[in-house]
Amino acid sequence: MQRTQRATRLLTGALALPLAGALIAGCSTTSDPSATEDLKPVAGGTLVYASGDAEPNCLDPHVGGNYPQALVASQFMESLFSKDAKGEIVPWLAEKSEVSEDGLTRTITLREGISFHDGTPLTAEAIKANIEHLQDPNTASSTGYLAVGKVTEITIVDELTAQLELSAPDNALLESLSMPWTAIQSPEGLKRDQAANCAAPAGTGPFKVESWDRQQAVNLVRYEDYAAPAADPERAGSTAHLDGITWRFIPEAASRYAALQSGEVDVIDNPQPDTIATAADSGLGHLAAPRPGASNRVELNSSKAPFDDASVREAFIRSLDVNTGIDALYFNTAERSYSLLSSVEPLGISAEEKFGTDVERANQLLDEAGWTERDAQGYRLKDGKRLSLSFPVSTNQSVPAEQSLFEQMQAAAKNVGIEVKIDLLDLSSWYGALAKHEYDLVSAPYTKVGPSVLRILFHSDSTVPAPSGYFANNAQIKNPQLDRLLVEAEQTNDEAKRAELYERAQQIVLDGYYVIPLYDQQNHFLFSKNVHGMGETTAVSSPTYFNVFLNK
């Protein structure tokens, strides 16, 4: 094995030093009412967090792997890499990383002196144990599993160095390893049975899981042996300000907001757009942290009639007036997107001209496509069949404002003679409908760091269900040219070429009218005026509370 090692991305702690403070701020914006006063951090106090998401079944984000898990796990688990304010990948638990010239061997060296909550020191053994855990079918990982899909073998070089062998070059590997779904947990903890590890995973984060009272709260307490991020000299060697976090689940949006107003909780997520818009007037702080990866979008299933016809897809898109709806429903808290990628992804391209409303053109396209007759209710017919689209909507994944937006689409499509049948489903039935291909339209958010999310969403391989049963290419695009571009884009080590390949790939998807981008995946947080230091997030924009303090 004589491979010339070349440091394509030598990422050392020293390089990242100037980024101190805002290190993990990502691209989030925050309007902290206390920002003007320059308060000295106060230690102590327990922050009460109220989440609107369903309570996870497992606190280990390897298992399954959804955003609610990432939100809470970001407090007690850390990843090998993270993302800085400029959107660059920086080492976190790792100290540095190198890749071989052929791109098939990735060497990762860990920082020294870090230990897990259970006392186990962080060594190369942990990298091996964690990636193998993600790849073990019994873990039933879906997000992390895809992220480390190209890793074929992990060799331990020395105590702090591991070498990852890849099946193909992967310039997105560090991005993949910066996500909470691939966070590193204690190899000793992983040896427990899954239920035990789910209840209290042992990570390296500034807080650790003390207890989990189901339906009430996950109780997190400060980890006293925390090794603060190397890039933050001011906070080097210190621990979190807060004594702990009480992580509650309050599914009702109105109750959650009322609880924040009355001071029962300090931070809430998933606030209603109208409450975000009036947050400043109500004396509340607001943190907007759009998620990376894909934008929130509706996908058009091109694998079956009527959307196997590109002109019907275009006609549907042209019939809609999405912008007015977004303005009314989101109170200017969400900006219309015309891109497949989140606005935090530098390589995303925008195509506003594709999504303008043009009812006349929609009607013309449908006439030309042979949908000329109309039935008694005004819907178009072809060969006696109604132009009807089924749209399963998951109540877990689409907030009320988004569901209303879909209803408006339904009404707009009806004006050109297209019937849209919205089915509000629980998550299980929704996955079931997708698995059986019983959909023409679907909105399935996907968060991943970096543009390689495009391969997961639009490569023809993603139309084949993963072992877990999930497939991500909901538009069912099978385009060999697109496949080649996406594979090549992931393997090149030339940054400019990567950008160009991704641009061409996005153009193909946009030109084919497979997707209606709506807005960035919304990720808002409201907090009371006692909460200071909000704003830092992980690579997937989940807030972290290491630097947060309460001033009650």
């Binding site: 109105a254 009314a328 408006q408 509000l424």
Partner: protein
């Protein structure tokens, strides 16, 4: 129950029956017509109950929602009463052992609280209007069935029936001429009371996201959608809620004027 209350209740129900059958007479608009630019308008002359998050007219929706909402309430009550008539009559007329068996079945149905029973059925069938009707119907059946049974038993043992037996009338004739009218009258009162409760339970299922799918203007679904905007636009949930209360209260008034007792609903 006073005469005024009786008249008031009847007027309420007649009004809602009219709206259910011909909503266009009262609100000629389209309850599904969206106009996003006109979202969240407070009640005004143009929109007496305001507009919702998609700019739909709430008044039009409440009026057009009467059909769906009352249909669920009526269908569930009819189903519950249908089951009750069969089981209750069978229990009353059957031999002791069968009577006991049926009573146990009723008790088992009764033992699982209504909404829990509804959720149980939905766990097996998945959500929707049909399961909601079946669920509410089944959960109200045992209450009705017990009354049917006790009514029929009291009539069965009454002098009237003895007289008919003495006169040598056939069993079927006895059922037809004596049991049905005497047992059914109190039931009618109970049914009116029950319709109001059925509308409320069906609305609760919609609230939990397990009833009528949006954007259909069913009251429970509207209430459920509107509560998200309670702080911003109270009228979205106030008026559908008011409609439910008015219907349920009206049904109670009529039921009581017919001599119904609240307890069996």
């Amino acid at each position: 129950m006073s005469r005024t209350a009786k008249i008031l209740g009847t007027v309420f129900i007649l009004f809602w029956l009219l709206t259910a059958l011909a909503p266009g007479l009262i609100a000629p608009g389209d309850p599904l017509a969206v106009d996003p630019a006109q979202a969240f308008h407070a009640p005004s002359l143009a929109h007496p109950m305001g507009t919702d998050e998609s700019g739909r007219d709430v008044f039009t929706r409440v009026i057009h929602g009467a059909g769906d909402s009352l249909y669920i309430g009526l269908a569930a009550t009819a189903l519950g009463m249908g089951i009750a008539l069969v089981l209750g009559t069978a229990a009353a007329l059957a031999p002791r052992w069968l009577d006991g068996a049926i009573l146990r079945v009723l008790e088992a149905l009764y033992a699982v609280p209504s909404l829990l029973l509804a959720l149980l059925i939905i766990a097996f069938t998945g959500p929707g209007v049909g399961p909601a009707i079946v669920a509410v119907g089944l959960s109200t059946a045992p209450g009705y069935a017990r009354l049917v049974r006790s009514q029929i038993r009291s009539v069965k043992n009454s002098e009237m029936l003895e007289a008919a037996t003495v006169l040598g009338r056939g069993t079927w004739l006895k059922v037809q001429n004596h049991l049905v009218p005497n047992a059914l009258r109190p039931l009618l009162a109970l049914v009116t009371l029950g319709i109001g409760q059925a509308v409320i339970w069906a609305a609760a299922l919609s609230f939990l996201g397990l009833g009528t799918p949006p954007p259909a203007p069913e009251w429970g679904a509207m209430l459920s959608a509107g509560r998200t905007y309670l702080h911003l636009a109270w009228w979205l949930s106030f008026f559908p809620g008011l409609a439910i209360v008015v219907v349920a209260a009206g049904a109670t008034l009529i039921g009581r004027s017919l001599g119904g007792k609240v307890n069996a609903a």
